[in-house]
Symmetry: C2
Subunit: 408 residues, 2 copies
């Protein structure tokens, strides 16, 4: 990525004010891993007592840092922990050298931070197949550690960006028995995004207290309906990861608190939506809401077939209420459908019902909905109770511009 990309038209007006999370400090640096003139490594240090949970890509060709994190998550330890993330190089498909690079970075970070190596988690994002110049990272760890700050999360969100056009953050605060706990998260991702957890990098922090297994359970559950329900281009990354740490510094136990659970899902969904809104070339944010499927799995299969259809994504880019292509996508998805029970709406405009164009179909009304920035495609299969909602963006010339460039 040599050039600067224009900021997505769907970007929020500004980066949100994220609360300081007791027990976490952040630092960033311009280590020159690949990019010049910008930060590209972040370090997050977690206080002793932190529970760490994670969710990861299921790619069969996942990268060395992912495999290393997966092996470590869930390990019993009450000691401190650290997260090291670099952008510019994914350390993926880098053979034995990739494993050695992870070993070198985690060993050095453990030493610098005074935490066990088994509690150092790394992520790498960027080009695949190039050796990671890991000494640029290990050389920078001392300076990083010296500059750790509780308020560094906004800078961290910038350091992990690749083709992102804006940094992504979200937060929530929850009252529990008159005391407040906070959640703050950051994410990167804009291409190679398809739902197979996580297809992006996401780091979420809270000062709440919760056991590792309960935290893991919540994270895994909510991942299914948030990060695993977004797609930009149907392409699943080899590298991506969601790591969440609960420092417990607030002393407030949220193990069975439903408000906390809802707030956590809210932060995850907010970050997931921001990734879609930074989808490469995106000009529209699209919700696909499927109801009436035989079961939830079928609903998701249909929703993703629609969300990943190049013909539908280009029609949305062209503001064309081309519901015939929605019929096509449902037909090809492989999940159960009965053409003659199907109904489709664009926004509030019903365009098809019972296998036929709606009797009161208005092309003008449907076209008016397509001209907005937020598009909703509703599909009811008329078969059962299965539902699923997924989010995507349109497919524009911008996507081609970004990805047809020489080695983006």
């Amino acid at each position: 990525m040599g050039k600067s990309l224009a900021v997505s038209p769907l970007a929020p007006a500004r980066f949100p004010d994220l609360p300081v999370i007791d027990g976490v400090t952040f630092a960033t640096i311009a280590a020159g891993v690949r990019y010049q003139g910008r930060t590209d490594v972040m370090l997050a240090k977690l206080a002793p007592g932190s529970a760490v949970a994670g969710a990861f890509t299921r790619s069969a060709t996942r990268a060395a840092p992912v495999l290393d994190c997966q092996a470590k998550i869930g390990g019993a330890s009450n000691e401190g922990a650290a997260i090291v993330v670099n952008s510019g190089n994914a350390n993926a498909f880098t053979g034995r050298g990739g494993i050695d690079a992870v070993e070198a970075i985690t060993a050095a970070a453990a030493e610098v931070c005074g935490v066990p190596q088994a509690r150092v988690f790394t992520s790498s994002t960027g080009v695949i197949g190039e050796p990671l110049p890991h000494e640029r990272i290990t050389d920078a760890l001392g300076e990083l550690h010296a500059s750790l700050s509780p308020s560094g999360i906004a800078d961290a969100a910038k350091a992990i960006m690749t083709t992102d056009t804006f940094p992504k953050g979200a937060s929530a605060t929850v009252e529990v028995d008159g005391r407040t706990v906070s959640i703050a998260g950051i994410a990167k991702g804009s291409g190679m995004i398809a739902p197979d957890m996580a297809t992006m990098l996401v780091y979420i922090f809270t000062d709440a207290q919760i056991d590792q297994d309960k935290l893991q359970h919540r994270l895994s559950t909510h991942t299914e309906s948030t990060f695993n329900c977004i797609t930009v281009d149907s392409d699943t990354s080899t590298s991506d990861a969601l790591i969440m740490a609960a420092t417990g510094a607030s002393g407030v136990d949220v193990s069975d608190n439903e408000d906390f659970d809802a707030a956590l899902r809210g932060v995850m969904l907010d970050l997931a939506h921001q990734v879609v809104k930074d989808g490469e070339g995106a000009s529209k944010f699209v919700e696909i809401a499927v109801t009436g499927a035989s079961n939830d799995d079928d609903a998701k299969t249909h929703a993703l077939a629609i969300a990943n259809s190049p013909l539908i994504k280009t029609a949305i880019a062209g503001e064309d209420p081309n519901w015939g292509r929605v019929v096509m996508a449902i037909g090809k998805s492989g999940a159960a459908a009965d053409r003659d029970r199907l109904s489709i709406r664009f926004g509030d405009v019903e365009v098809a019902r019972d296998g036929w164009r709606s009797p009161d179909y208005s092309e003008e009304a449907a076209a008016a909905h397509m001209q907005g920035e937020n598009i909703v495609i509703g599909v009811d299969l008329g078969l059962g109770e299965g539902t699923c909602t997924v989010w995507t963006c349109d497919l524009t010339h911008g996507y081609i511009d970004i990805n047809a460039d020489y080695r983006s």
Copy 2:
């Protein structure tokens, strides 16, 4: 489709000279189904004794003409037959009215041609969800029948086009015991092309003699390795169909002739390749050859994951030998893969081996291959004997131009 599209740069220099097939006559007309100023209906009439076989889309939302053909193919009859095809309107998702339209067209064609209605096969291609003005077709049948000619196949190839930029034809002749039989086929298709038979319209004719069940078996078998191994955009049509007729007029029985079998597959593959070469916006013809998979099904899953990846297709458009994206696609496909046994080549240039960039990798050599018009991506999984080859095209601005237009 109001505007004229530039002819694909991958188009053959000219439409081939197709042999006259004894027992088949063709006619075309400009019936104004949707388009103005061009032919849009073709009639093919088959002599008594013709065997008719077919293969059809498996879409769950397939169109009325497809359902009608599927019900009729394989029926025992020695009488004549007819094929009626219109472009401009797919008669898909048109409810009860769609079925009535097929009934009206097949009844009228049976009457005009003097064949049983159960031997009249129709196809429709074009916009989905609009009522088919079938009386424009039935009104034209008399004039069509009056102009039937054995040499009309080239005009037929033009009348069935939608967003195609060139008509598609292929042929073969085979010597059997000193006598010659001929095969001639035509096809249309350039978008909404993904392998789930047939994702296009294809009509193949031969004067060879062969039983219907044997013809059907050969057609189905070869469809798997030809039309079901191409993809333009992963989107499967609701409408498309392959119909083959063997008139038997040569009196040469080819039931067990291997040369005929090979020639038939050759014609099918040639037509399939032409469809890819007319892929919407295509600038490169791409072969994905997968070997060493655990089995043939896995090989096909990997090959299609690569062929349908927007990131790979845009990289090819940008002439970028971005093999990291090939690793990504293999990882996401869901079929068995072992990162550290994988090798990848672009043309003759090995770019990756054993989970790592090839030791003698030359970016220049790989880039040189990508600059050609015919791109070969070879992948060996190193796991077993499974193989599959599929064909696709790149994803360019032209695809967006064509499909983001208002109701193409």
